[in-house]
């Protein structure tokens, strides 16, 4: 098998530079590439365009990059829960493009799949469709949306192997699989890097062909955004 394992986080992020476009997996704080984000803060790269469903919270996730003003533009579907984000957005420091969540997922998937464009009903008749081609199929109106283009995808999986095969856990899966192979280089971080052959070939969520670099993250905080519980009877 082709070896995708890198020695450390430095090697994993080699080639990252200012003004690049990144895809980052995660929904809220669930399934975000914690280690890659931490290293992007360390590297201090600036002028970034980030394609990510959400923008983290003030002191975690993409909020860490926002604090250091490393992000120039966010492409997201929902960006609440973040005061620094709000400040930068309202002051005009940060450019924000809001797009429907399903369109966000499908534009990633299109990039992964070599589909340059597709039609979706989402956003038709709204400002999201402004300037975009619309078209009727079977009496219903659709908007044409194009595949994203990005330099790096940073994704986080539960388990992976040196061939780059990935398995995700629960709803931490979210955007991670569709971002694999959707950028020029996909960097996967995993909670556990297992020996080759340990993952069931029949149960791999993302085959290694979509992943260029893989490493086991040093530490995962896996912060919970809305801890909601019920009382025992």
């Amino acid at each position: 098998m082709i070896n995708k394992k890198v020695a450390n986080i430095n090697e994993a992020l080699q080639g990252v530079s200012n003004n690049m476009t990144f895809m980052l997996g995660g929904f809220g704080l669930s399934g975000i590439p914690e280690n890659a984000i931490a290293e992007l803060v360390n590297l201090g790269v600036k002028g970034l365009t980030c394609i990510s469903n959400n923008a983290g919270v003030d002191d975690f996730g993409l909020g860490l990059l926002l604090q250091k003003r490393q992000i120039k533009k966010m492409i997201s579907s929902y960006v609440g829960e973040n005061e620094e984000f709000e400040r930068q957005m309202l002051s005009g420091e940060l450019d924000v493009e809001l797009i429907p969540q399903g369109t966000l997922a499908e534009r990633c998937r299109a990039a992964q799949a070599g589909i340059p464009a597709f039609y979706t009903p989402a956003g038709y008749g709204t400002e999201v469709a402004e300037g975009k081609e619309t078209r009727e199929f079977d009496g219903k109106m659709y908007v044409m949306e194009e595949a994203f283009k990005a330099d790096f995808s940073f994704v986080k999986a539960w388990k992976g192997d040196s061939a780059g095969n990935l398995i995700f856990k629960g709803t931490a899966r979210n955007f991670n699989p569709v971002m694999c192979g959707a950028a020029k280089i996909t960097v996967a971080e995993v909670e556990e890097l297992v020996p080759l052959g340990e993952l069931d070939s029949n149960q791999i969520h993302i085959p290694g062909i979509f992943v260029q670099r893989i490493f086991q993250g040093e530490h995962y905080e896996k912060r919970i955004e809305q801890r909601t519980v019920r009382q025992r009877d």
Binding site: G31, S76, Q101, F168, N174, I224, Q226, V229
Partner: protein, 217 residues
């Protein structure tokens, strides 16, 4: 007049056996608590889970198992997890039978506005635009009027739209209404609310035919 819980209770009656249901944040989330327990319903959350169960017991929260409101949840036997593309295949492909969501405004044409107020911080539409553009069966759960007492059921929406011509039914604190080609058709009154009160709170065309029954919960 209903409170938020009452709205959720009334909407729960619209949930039929065998339905896959997507619940928005706010009042819609409460609907799950009032669905009859002699029918089988599965709740889908667009972040990638089908078959959601109740919130976890304290100490059993899992950061890897949340709903679209980022709340920790549990799943039932037979549940499944999937990626965001497949999740929206369910939504866009009309495999979800019923979508219940909140709104700032609904127009008599079925247009809905629920994501943006010009001049205010915009958080984003999340999955709402995909949901309203795709779902065949959309119920809006909202108060009949806004905090300033102005009607939220309008001839035309004044706010930026989330979707056009998509809302089928509306349940408010005052009434149950159906969106028809001729306007909002009044189906039911909330307990002890008169047709006149509903008329007064409805800016859009209100269609009142025959005697309007009071709703039962």
């Amino acid at each position: 007049m209903l409170d938020k819980t009452g709205i959720a209770q009334r909407i729960a009656k619209e949930v039929k056996d065998g339905y896959y249901v997507n619940l928005g944040i706010g009042i819609p989330t409460l609907v799950a608590n009032y669905v009859r327990n002699d029918i089988e319903v599965e709740f889908q959350s667009e972040n990638g889970v089908l078959g959601m169960g109740p919130f976890p017991y304290e100490g059993e929260e899992d950061a890897d198992v949340i709903n679209a409101g980022k709340q920790t949840i549990t799943t039932l036997p037979g549940a499944s997890f999937f990626d965001s593309a497949l999740s929206f295949s369910m939504i866009r492909g009309q495999h979800v039978d019923l979508t219940i969501l909140g709104a700032m405004e609904v127009a008599e044409s079925g247009d809905i506005a629920n994501w943006k107020i010009p001049g205010k911080m915009v958080k984003g539409m999340g999955g709402a635009m995909d949901l309203v553009a795709s779902a065949e069966n959309i119920i809006v759960a909202m108060m009949h009027t806004n905090r300033a007492g102005e009607s939220k059921l309008l001839k035309r929406c004044s706010l930026p739209l989330t979707g056009v011509g998509c809302v089928k039914k509306i349940v408010t604190n005052l009434a149950v209404l159906e969106v028809t080609p001729k306007g909002f058709k009044l189906l039911e009154r909330a307990p002890s609310v008169s047709v006149e009160e509903i008329q007064k709170s409805t800016e859009g065309t209100l269609i009142v035919e025959g005697v309007i029954p009071e709703m039962t919960l």
